[in-house]
Amino acid sequence: MGEMVRKESGGAILNHWVLAISCILLMITGFAFLFHLESVGAVFGGFETMKTVHNWTGVVFTVALVLTMVNYLGDSLRYDADDVQWFKVAGGYLSHKVKVPPMGKHNPGQKLYYLGIVIFGIAIALSGFGIWLMKDNPTIMLLSHLVHNVAFIFFCIMVPVHIYLSTLANPGTFQIMVSGMVPLELAKKRYPKWMKAAGKM
């Protein structure tokens, strides 16, 4: 095995999985509320307990979401000409024949995905707290209910995309969120601009 470089810190990995597991638990319980899935409710011993689990998991999700900004927000706000070109070739995902421009640590798809998670994550968190804590204000309650459900659709669409792209679609990527390490040779191919900046190539 050749030289490895660290792409994700231990803290970032822990942060990712707390966010991911809370997010999926929230989505499953959310679907159970939306479609009255009694079998899911039964797992929690009833819908009232499931509501408590959903609410407090939401707190965990919110904290984890805020913490991710330390690691990813800065990078996700910076785009260059290669990023524009990346979109023109759809990141190479529609054909293996196109030439994908050299990327830094994250490609613009990842960066925009992250921004989406931040924006819709804040929306779903704030509206969730609205439904939870501001029950006696009809305007806030109904607005929160609407925003919560709109943001939910973003998660329903984007979370499976993220899971697919980070596992089956890009072999080797999932491992980075487990060990944090990526083989140097692979990193040079996938993140040349990052590797150059780090003085590794």
Partner: protein
């Protein structure tokens, strides 16, 4: 909805013959074992002032003088409207907390209520109330009486016939035959289970004109709910197709 209009039951309120005796309020409390409420005199006989966890029905008293009757006093019995298209049932996230009886009533099961209060905000008539333990309460059309072939407590006790219970279609045609031009709730929200016979304008009695479920709730129910499933399923399908048609990323080609 499982109910068809042929066996749907309803309460017909005829405010014109109501004498404001409030026996309906007492009978409701008696049957449902609801405690008294400490209230203040606010210069009206209407008491309690509004629906409450211990008041599933009330008579609203309003003084609406007219040209030929300067002391006209109007009484209208208010309770859950038992909408066919019920906003509370639409938005409720807890299965069975609000449910439809075979008579068409919207009843509740407080053990299944998750205390979210969404129903309060989706009700077009401001009916559901939450008790001290944070559970929903409201008129349930005495589901436990009507299920056994008895009259709702309020109807049973009404001395004037201002409250009548029976087959919804029959009540409507009876009211029409009696000369009531307006049947409030005949068509609103798919048809209400509490219908009102008026000779005058319903808004004179403080009845809400064109009651509707909040538009955000209808939008959510019609579009967002299905879209969440379609979105999830569509993306999973698209990923599967992509994996087969284009395949995973290959670093050799970079």
């Amino acid at each position: 909805m499982a109910n068809n209009s042929t066996n749907r039951k309803a309460i017909l309120v005829t405010p014109e013959v109501c004498i404001g005796c409030r026996a309906c309020q007492v009978a409701c409390k008696s049957w449902n074992e609801l405690p008294g409420i400490k209230t203040k005199n606010n210069g009206t006989y209407q008491n309690p002032p509004d629906l409450a966890t211990a008041a599933y029905n009330i008579i609203k008293y309003s003084e609406v003088p007219s040209q030929d009757n300067p002391v006209r006093w109007l009484f209208v019995s208010r309770r859950c409207m038992h909408c066919e298209d019920a906003g509370c049932m639409k938005i409720c996230p807890a299965p069975g907390a609000l449910y439809r009886t075979k008579e068409g009533a919207v009843a509740f099961d407080r053990d299944k209520c998750v205390a979210c209060k969404l129903c309060v905000n989706a009700c077009p008539f401001d009916v559901p109330r939450y008790d001290a333990e944070g559970k929903v309460t409201k008129c349930h059309l005495c589901f436990d009486r009507i299920g056994e072939g008895m009259l709702p407590a309020c109807v049973k006790t009404c001395p004037t016939g201002a409250l009548r219970y029976g087959d919804r279609d029959e009540l409507i045609s009876t009211a029409r035959a009696e000369g009531f031009g307006t049947i409030y709730g005949e068509k609103d929200l798919g048809g209400l289970g509490s219908i009102y016979a008026f000779k005058e304008e319903p808004n004179l009695y403080g009845m809400k004109e064109n009651p509707t479920i909040p538009s955000s709730v209808i939008f959510w129910h019609t579009y967002l709910k299905p879209l969440s499933l379609i979105g999830l399923g569509g993306v999973v399908a698209a990923a599967a197709i992509h994996y087969m048609a284009v395949g995973p990323h290959k670093d050799e080609e970079v």
